[in-house]
Symmetry: C2
Subunit: 379 residues, 2 copies
Amino acid sequence: MNDSQRDDPLAGPRGRIDAIDARILALLAERAELLAEVVATKQREGLPIFVPEREAAKVAAFRSAAVEKGLDPDWAEDFLRMVMGASRARQSTGAFPRAGRSRTILFVGGRGRMGALYAGVFARSGHTVRCLDEGDWDRVDELCAGCDAAVVTVPIRATEAVIARLAPHLGADTLLLDFTSRKSAPLAAMLDAHPGPVVGLHPLHGSDVQNLSKQLMIVCPGRQPEAAAWLGEQFRLWGMRLAEMPAARHDEGMHLVQGLRHFLALLHGSFLMNQDARPQQMLDLSSPIYRAELMMTGRIFAQNPELYADIVFADDGRRAVLLEFLAHHERLAELVRDDDKAGFVAEFERVRAFFGEFAEQALTESNYLIHRLADRFAD
Amino acid sequence: MNDSQRDDPLAGPRGRIDAIDARILALLAERAELLAEVVATKQREGLPIFVPEREAAKVAAFRSAAVEKGLDPDWAEDFLRMVMGASRARQSTGAFPRAGRSRTILFVGGRGRMGALYAGVFARSGHTVRCLDEGDWDRVDELCAGCDAAVVTVPIRATEAVIARLAPHLGADTLLLDFTSRKSAPLAAMLDAHPGPVVGLHPLHGSDVQNLSKQLMIVCPGRQPEAAAWLGEQFRLWGMRLAEMPAARHDEGMHLVQGLRHFLALLHGSFLMNQDARPQQMLDLSSPIYRAELMMTGRIFAQNPELYADIVFADDGRRAVLLEFLAHHERLAELVRDDDKAGFVAEFERVRAFFGEFAEQALTESNYLIHRLADRFAD
């Protein structure tokens, strides 16, 4: 025991806590090495990266073990999922398993961020990847020759023109795909321009993810779905979740998911500016939940305005939904103008009935987020 | 090696991973016991629960150790903060350190959830706590006698009447406090009704927190601030962050933080209903960021509509801000109506300049949230 320990009654137990933390860190490093073995085996044997049943069984066992040791099982689950999340991230540094034989895939717009992400993942799964970017059209026939699939991943406004330009150069059996965040018009353009197999795709995640495990891919079938079976299997081997739906259902949903959200973020940020409410000062007044809200709005302004404008102004249907949203706001604002608290409560009760059990799930999930945010950033 | 291990090339390394996870769990349980020792010592010696400098030093050391072991330092920090967050939660199960001598504190409305939370924490810090609820007014003199402080924690609409009713029964030296989410009117009512020391407070957190460590308390000085010095010290010993500001600044900020947020949540939920967009179906179309947004809206509807109505309709000033928000929406919707993408981009650039460096911070924090949400719930 040294002098400072004699003076400080906390030094002893704190030193032992630090020693435990060091041992946990060493175990985590060892775990990471074992995991590299697992991943190498998966890659060799063509086994999926993410197996929901294995993860669920693992979580259940860990919760029981936590209860036996007197630890909170919810906390233990959070902990394990965080470790497993990092494990999945680490799995992205090596190779990925491949579905079936090696294919040749052409990325049209492969230097964009989403194209580059998928081109990298296909390549690391043992497929051959080619890129066709703006300067490469003089080599289009050479690049298309022998391709199993071609993925159009260019900005929304260019998609249909690029499809029309590309399709005549594709083999009749080549699977034609696109990654656009709208699906009806690009799918129609692909079906029109290409006689072979066609599928519309929309990866519902950012291009900054560490790998594709647990990420969601929307799949809108076009023509000859059997010709795309290997692709679905490949997505599942990467651990992706697939949601198949008609293009029209996707597009209507996206008006609300992407169009409304991004318009609301601009509206919120721009109103804070209008009120001269500096975000940094607002943090002094923010509970964790408002902090989360401010961060969700603020993140937009670190990104590309053209990209957001393309999303908000995607088409007439989306603009019509945004104008309906204004009309809806005008109706609800009547309650505020008339100081009609009872009307507010009645509307609240109607929405509560419509949301049903989802509201409880939302409370649980958002509480989890809020507590993580408070742990991580509120200091 | 048993049969299934011979068949399954993953069984070996997976078994070793499971063994490591069991050892980590045992270390976490041991860590929790050591922490109980630390907490008991803190309580005995009147030392603060949360010391930002100690936590910062601990995080820096852990990051360095992670880098040495080949682990991602950001991930290691997330991990440690999660463990420390759980540690703080566990510290809430025992007693708390006390600032100075034991005081007697009267909670007026102590059966409400926020009152009950604070009454419990004061009691477990060795103070004497009394409660005055609706049925107790016949004993008001008895309950007020000898109190060092009285905290009014009743619904907004009752606050001023309760202050007027309570104040004549307080000793001239009793510190009068309130917990209302507005500050100007209650503070004026307290200064008017009570000649002694007065402070307005607003705890900026939910009543479901496990303890008060890292939570934010807004402090609006009223009269004789020196008489409340022990209280500030007590808040800090519990690990709270204090933000002192004039009541008017608090109230203006709250129009945007609480009023606008809750109105927007109703507007968003009610528009989804208007579009017949079931939240559970929307999840099929949700990237992690929209999932987070949907959860932040949905949580509202698992809660009390009267409470939200009180917040949204707090006063004329708040309603005026909400009507300005409508006018602002009408202006921005012109861009949508006119298909004016360039105007949208120009407004975006103005907001970006106003947000400044905050946008990058928001991107970092919200990415953290989104990745945690994907780890935890997207399966």
